[in-house]
């Protein structure tokens, strides 16, 4: 037995004593001593052993831990959170539709729910054990005894705290002295300074300061202003080796990245129709023409389907779109002379409807150029008003159907183009209706079918008689 004498003082006072600690060479002696101490009525006691000694909790009167209850609560929390998370994330906030499977909680939610239950339980077990044991605790008066190092090796220690309500320094010493101990020491206050050594402080300070540097840089960048391009840590797909529309390229001879339609191919939505259906003229015949009218016509087109003039030799310059082009009427072009749609009742009705909707406001219901807008302008005496063209004058009446279609599509003079309001078929239907109007206003008796002539003659007879 060796009494451990305090060699140092703390401040001006001697170190405080926390109790008595006896050392034993094996667990059986410890258990025997522990029972003796318990039977003497001491409760603020503890044993320190290199491994969990079975029976020590009974020998010291240690109560069972409430750790399993904590773990159960945390495990159920994990389970509920997992189910709630899956229900809300995939069933409410962001619903994935996959093979028509139900949303929210399904059997597919089981794996994640199970794993989350285990995760929460496992961490609560570990952290609960740490917290209930009040660890980490790096400064402990039991460590002041150098013999205590063997508590984690092969020695067993029994400790009676001075805080016990029956504690008496001499009687505890006597009680422990009566056991089969190897040594008996008083546990004294740790006399080493409380403050952390200076190098540790300095290192900690440096680490904190170094840790502030990235935060400062980010703060500076967020609040500052820079004209430099964004710094790309990872390129993601910000830079791609590709060409966009309207850019130039050296890959093709014409220097354009946008490619014209390949010969012999059909664009989407145009499978059933000729190009002339959309243009009102035959583009193949146009490109065969020697005069420059075709080029000038192409210049007026904003249509994505003009003939590729560049392929004729690449030397022809396409006039810029803003140069005033000659009126299409003056152009000698291969206009379509026959309607590409059938002249039936259905198309006539469609043409009539569209004509009355879009054309009659200016051109009038009969096509004389006496629409409501014109009448109002006349009534107001608007000097700058250009009267709408009558469809029944010779110049217009003699136009082929393709040219009328072109006029409706692209406009003429003050008249805007109607390609945006009517699709190609509707525009052709209007052409049909216009042609019918023109014919009706300049009709002769030759236009009347032979089988209808008798009934018409009956109606017109008195009129001709009066004239004669």
């Amino acid at each position: 037995m060796s009494d451990h004498k305090p060699k140092k003082t703390i401040g001006n006072r001697p170190p405080r004593a926390f109790g008595w600690m006896a050392e034993y060479s094996n667990e059986h002696k410890l258990l025997e001593a522990a029972r003796k101490v318990r039977d003497s009525g001491y409760t603020d006691t503890d044993a320190f052993t290199p491994f969990p000694v079975h029976g020590i909790d009974e020998a010291l009167g240690i109560k069972p831990t409430k750790l399993p209850f904590i773990v159960l609560c945390c495990g159920l929390t994990g389970l509920s959170l997992a189910l709630l998370m899956q229900w809300w994330m995939n069933g409410v906030d962001y619903m994935y539709i996959i093979s028509g499977k139900p949303m929210g909680i399904t059997p597919a939610s089981i794996p994640v729910a199970f794993e989350m239950t285990i995760l929460f339980s496992a961490f609560s077990t570990f952290l609960g054990m740490i917290a209930l044991n009040q660890l980490p605790k790096f400064s402990n008066p039991v460590f002041t005894n150098p013999r205590f190092d063997r508590a984690t090796d092969d020695k067993f220690f029994l400790y009676v705290s001075a805080k016990d309500k029956y504690y008496n320094r001499d009687s505890v010493r006597e009680l422990l002295g009566g056991t089969q101990h190897d040594s008996l020491d008083e546990v004294i206050e740790d006399s080493t300074p409380d403050a952390l050594p200076r190098p540790i402080w300095l290192t900690a300070l440096l680490v904190v300061l170094a840790g502030l540097i990235p935060a400062m840089i980010i703060l500076n960048m967020r609040n500052g202003f820079s004209t430099a391009p964004r710094f790309h840590v990872f390129f993601d797909m910000d830079f791609q080796p590709k060409k966009k529309a309207q850019q130039t390229t050296t890959i093709f001879a014409d220097g354009r990245t946008m490619r014209p339609q390949v010969e012999g191919t059909v664009a989407r939505g145009q499978l059933d129709e000729q190009d002339s259906f959309y243009l009102g003229y035959d583009p193949n015949k146009l490109s065969a023409l020697e005069n420059t009218d075709g080029v000038r016509l192409v210049a007026t087109q904003a249509d994505p389907k003009p003939q590729d003039t560049a392929k004729d030799g690449g030397t022809k310059v396409i006039p810029a779109a803003n140069t005033p082009a000659a009126p299409a009427a003056a152009l000698n072009l291969p206009w379509l002379t026959t309607l590409p749609i059938e002249a039936n009742d259905e198309n006539m009705k469609l043409g009539e409807t569209k004509f009355q909707t879009y054309c009659s406001a200016c051109h009038g219901y009969s096509g004389y150029g006496d629409g409501l807008v014109h009448k109002r302008a006349e009534a107001l005496g608007q000097g700058f008003w250009i009267p709408p063209t009558s469809m029944h004058i010779d110049r217009v009446a003699s136009q082929p159907v393709g040219q009328i279609f072109h006029t409706i599509t692209k406009g003429q003079g003050k008249m805007p183009g109607y390609a945006a309001s009517m699709n190609a078929k509707e525009r052709w239907a209007v052409v049909l209706y216009v042609k019918a109007l023109q014919r009706s206003r300049n009709a002769s008796d030759k236009d009347i079918p032979e089988d209808k002539k008798p009934s018409i003659e009956d109606l017109t007879q008195p009129k001709t008689e009066a004239k004669k």
Binding site: H28, K29, D46, T65, T106, P111, V112, P136, D153
Partner: protein
């Protein structure tokens, strides 16, 4: 006490304690150990200067690990195109390696948790190293899906978090997401289990430290552990709870990994046998890796008295059992392919065995099914160098098993026009090899700085078996002296 063990002529520490005598428990550790001699033996591993071999191995494996990390950098800068993954086999070596490493990572927690619940006291000598191996294997495993996602710097998108960029959540019906949760939970729970088990032994390291710096570091790591009985009571309860939680967890992890395959529609993957078959394979490969590592460790660090032949014998029996289970699963797959009369299933399995990857299939069968059958013979179960060779073969076979499952099914799909033949690149090979560098570096560092054997648990088992012997001696009327060294 009459000895039931006999020392080998070549190595005096190599004591054969594998014989069973009816009515008497076999010794768990040999050489008449006391509490302090156990401490001494284990702490010596970290306290003595490391043998030259350690430096050679560490130098080699750390260079390999650095190569692996550099290749990951190259992969991130260049893209996954450096691998051989190509239509139709997009799940090639990265996923094979992932499943391989996760499988290896099953032994540790199995030994710590399931054997603990079954009161298999022999686990105490091997559980720490096996748990460490588990952590390091799971680290290696987790790297592969992380770098396989293409844009590795966005791998955190796998975790459900309120993102201001995406405005969306992960898809919880996908087995790939279950994988994130299963492997994540397994890695963190195993880490906690491993660390918690080490706390008392770290305190031993602290108390034996000669320098104040070491004492401080180990003191911080062991959280100021004193060995208080109140602490031990909660600690043991926590350990039991963790074991009870980790036991279903360890079975769930490879089940979920097998769902990655089984939930899909691919022939050869879409089978219900996958979860038990994968779990058996994981235990099989995990124990093989434990044997591969512990045989040299016990030899180099002279731990033959703690990791006895009986421990190795027991592990080899588990390898034999799980290897036979895996063989049964291979047979069952073939039977079901025939019995189901599903032409795609039937084709897939004929293609596995006799198609373009026949060589991989037969490497798998010979390593996984045939080689562990040698463990029926006691001679093979108790000769260290033979068991290491068989264990290495087992792990080769288990890698090929994952290769066969992943690659053969994908390369011969339902649509013959999209069939292909997978060819790995040099980067596939170097990155698989490199992962062993990471694994070995971490394991060598573990041996050097952390307690390789759970001292407190070994001592606890010594105490209780001594107690049992004491009772037995009293019942038989014989005297028994307290103390140690007279076993």
């Amino acid at each position: 006490m009459a000895t039931i063990a006999s020392a080998s002529a070549l190595n005096p520490r190599e004591i054969d304690n594998t014989d069973d005598i009816p009515g008497r428990r076999a010794q768990l550790i040999t050489g008449n150990q006391t509490y302090s001699s156990v401490t001494e033996m284990v702490c010596r591993v970290a306290e003595d200067p490391q043998p030259m071999l350690w430096y050679v191995l560490f130098g080699f494996s750390s260079i390999t690990a650095v190569m692996f990390l550099s290749l990951i950098g190259y992969l991130i800068l260049t893209g996954v195109g450096i691998w051989g993954n190509m239509n139709p086999v997009f799940w090639a070596w990265p996923i094979v390696n992932f499943v391989f490493w996760v499988g290896i990572g099953h032994a540790g927690t199995l030994i710590s948790a399931i054997l603990f619940l079954f009161r298999q006291n022999w686990r105490t000598s091997i559980n720490r190293a096996a748990e460490a191996m588990t952590i390091f294997a799971v680290i290696c495993a987790a790297i592969y899906p992380g770098i396989h996602v293409g844009r590795a710097w966005l791998a955190f998108w796998l975790i459900p978090y309120p993102s201001l960029n995406l405005w969306m959540w992960p898809q919880f019906r996908s087995p790939l997401l279950w994988d994130v949760f299963a492997v994540g939970t397994y890695a963190s729970t195993s880490l906690v289990f491993w660390y918690m088990g080490m706390i008392p032994d770290l305190a031993t390291y602290r108390d034996r430290s000669k320098t104040p710096v070491k004492r401080m570091i180990y003191g911080l790591l062991c959280l100021g552990w004193t060995g208080s009985s109140r602490h031990w009571l909660r600690y043991e309860k926590a350990y039991t709870l963790l074991a009870a939680l980790a036991a279903p967890l360890v079975l769930s992890v490879h089940t979920v990994v097998s769902f990655d395959f089984a939930v899909s529609q691919v022939a050869g993957w879409h089978t219900t046998i996958f979860p038990p078959y994968f779990v058996a394979g994981a235990i099989f490969s995990g124990f093989a890796m434990v044997v591969t590592l512990l045989v040299p460790v016990r030899k180099i660090y002279k731990l033959e008295n703690l990791i006895t032949l009986r421990h190795l014998d027991n592990m080899n029996k588990i390898i034999l059992a799980t290897g036979s289970l895996v063989g049964l699963a291979y047979g069952t797959e073939f039977f079901i392919a025939w019995y189901s009369k599903n032409p795609y299933e039937g084709f897939t399995f004929m293609n596995r065995a006799f198609g373009p990857y026949w060589w991989a299939y037969w490497i798998m069968v010979s390593c996984n099914v045939i080689s562990p059958q040698l463990f029926w013979f006691k001679k093979f179960r108790t000769t260290p160098w033979i068991m290491v060779i068989i264990s290495i073969f087992v792990n080769i076979g288990m890698w090929f098993e994952r290769f066969v499952i992943t690659v053969t099914s994908l390369s011969r799909d339902y649509l013959p026009s999209s069939w292909g033949y997978f060819r790995p690149t040099i980067f596939d090979g170097l990155m698989f090899f490199g992962s062993f560098g990471v694994f070995m570096s971490l394991f060598l560092l573990f041996c050097r700085y952390l307690p390789t054997i759970a001292m407190s648990e070994v001592k606890g088992v010594m105490s209780s078996s001594e107690h049992a012997e004491h009772l037995q001696a009293e019942l038989l009327g014989g005297g028994h002296s307290h103390g140690h060294g007279h076993h």
